[in-house]
Subunit: 382 residues, 2 copies
Amino acid sequence: MRDVSIIGIGQTPVDEHWGKSLRHLAADAVLAAIQDAAVERADALYVGNMLSGVIAGQEHLGALIADFVGLRGIEAFKVEAACASGAAAVRLGYVAVAGGLADVVIAAGVEKMTDESNEVVTSGLAMAADGDYELPHGVSFVAINAMLMRRYMHVYGVSHDDFANFAVVAHQNAVNNPNARFQSSLPTSRFLDAPMICEPISLMDSSPIADGAAAVVLCATELVKDPARAVRIRASAVATDCLSLHDRRDPLRLDAVEMSAQKAYMQASVAPTDIDFFEYHDAFTIMAALSLEASGFARPGRATELAREGAIALDGRIPVATMGGLKARGHPVGATGVYQIVEAVQQLRGEAGANQVAGASLGMTQNIGGSGATVVTHILEA
Amino acid sequence: MRDVSIIGIGQTPVDEHWGKSLRHLAADAVLAAIQDAAVERADALYVGNMLSGVIAGQEHLGALIADFVGLRGIEAFKVEAACASGAAAVRLGYVAVAGGLADVVIAAGVEKMTDESNEVVTSGLAMAADGDYELPHGVSFVAINAMLMRRYMHVYGVSHDDFANFAVVAHQNAVNNPNARFQSSLPTSRFLDAPMICEPISLMDSSPIADGAAAVVLCATELVKDPARAVRIRASAVATDCLSLHDRRDPLRLDAVEMSAQKAYMQASVAPTDIDFFEYHDAFTIMAALSLEASGFARPGRATELAREGAIALDGRIPVATMGGLKARGHPVGATGVYQIVEAVQQLRGEAGANQVAGASLGMTQNIGGSGATVVTHILEA
């Protein structure tokens, strides 16, 4: 197996891109990544996307985008794993390059969510849950997370207020990210006063829907021409769980997060204490807490304590969501996993500007599909 | 790179499966393949599917089906490349095993199309075409193929009647396939009298929509326990083209078919004359003709002549659609590419019953997405 590096990154601002079609948005990110990587060709393109069928009425994104960016002819597919589609595309690129079947692969994620009504988007996102056993009860994705949060508060005796820090830190980090959806800080008081969407989940527990695209260029490390800017993929690991909450061993234990993280630690021969920052999947604050715990950064029930102690801030023990996370950078679902990796590369190159994590050399990204049914974890090294 | 073999196959009948959900249908095929392979575990599951979002309101099929067949935890994604989604899943499995990142991978294809109205299915299939440049003109997929067929007839001076043999042969081969949608022969007179759907494409030029699932188990050849039943993958090749007809170099030259087939021949170090049978993508008779030509089995404009001479029959020079093809076995879009490979394995194991191609040792399968924008070609060897 060959060592794999990321040699180029590209991203569009996360925003409402009403003036750009899906393919234009994707092309902006892919062409930026190609330019950043200074490559002229690629062997394959994998595109992470969840909702193009129900929102844009367009599938077949692999060939569509390959052609549109000037790579007509190359191998190209769309991959879907709900909100983990983006990192799934990177994972497939990693497999192809590590295994020697390709030298250079582009992995992209793209999602346009703001062209349609909230009803269409909410039903679209619900396709990440179990359509036979969860949706007939009328639950949306917010409701599923609300059940998790309610149980977490009950079992561990924490209050809704205790989750504030996850949102506050994310917004603080987004202030200096020109690609973030919300480039504004969030006073704790605003978190505490936020209207409830689905109790106990408030507006400020929730990541926003958005349009966006991000891309990375993967290359066999032995072929990298500019090693100084390349970021090595030390681990790439996927695990799955059942889609529906009621069928889990313990709803508060995200088994797939744990399995995926443990596999990644083993591949990289590192422990959670070695990780310098963590781009986690804070679709809701409860997901932030559960993934910190299942990934080994906090004991069960103690993630809010970790956050309260300042450990998740940029100068803390385990900085998270360093460019704003899903909460403030925004969550264009099929693109999110690639944004996380793009931002990790910015950190590891020392290009994160005001948000630079001092001395960052090992970063972890984790993209979660559904309420924890598909988890893709990567560990990257400067 | 490691040699890869297919050690297990499974399929459901292609039919209207109103009594089974998407996951049940997929599980039937996957569990049959697992049993056939006599394996107890797999490292990953890739699921080819195009329309589950718009028809079943369900995405996230990777984790869903992995869990449902008892493989909770393993890496699992859905892959989409329009009607080539099935073979794309097999391709990704091949990449993982050949590259050494997995030892055993299950590749499945599943599609349920008959639960919804024809309007929903027709618009769903149209997502394989260019949503910005083709669909605004009101063309459906039948119409796109009708334009190709009309031009073919004009340029090469052949008549609609000349296409009869593609459909007649497919139906003849389906008579003995218990999994085929139409297990009935098609008299040439019925082809000639068939009602037009979109001139010059008649009902009998067209493959039927259907429900179905198929699966294969891939394994590193060095780990195969029962070599007598294993079928080697000698080539796995993908090529893409633009989605829209108007942007092609020549609409009658399927460039991606040609590139994909040429790559496959090179990988396997064989020529078209070495291929004993060809599971081609006869979604419409015009696609059958164009893919025979672009794959090197007939010169441009001469495919109908090849068919008239009997070369595509089971005892001909290049038997096609040996178990009924898309035309008569049926075309559950995301599953079709896996059905083709399952049927090729049946031939190469000598398990094709009355349809056995005598002495078949090298078979080719070709799955086409859209009107030729994604093409996945495999060459298999007994």
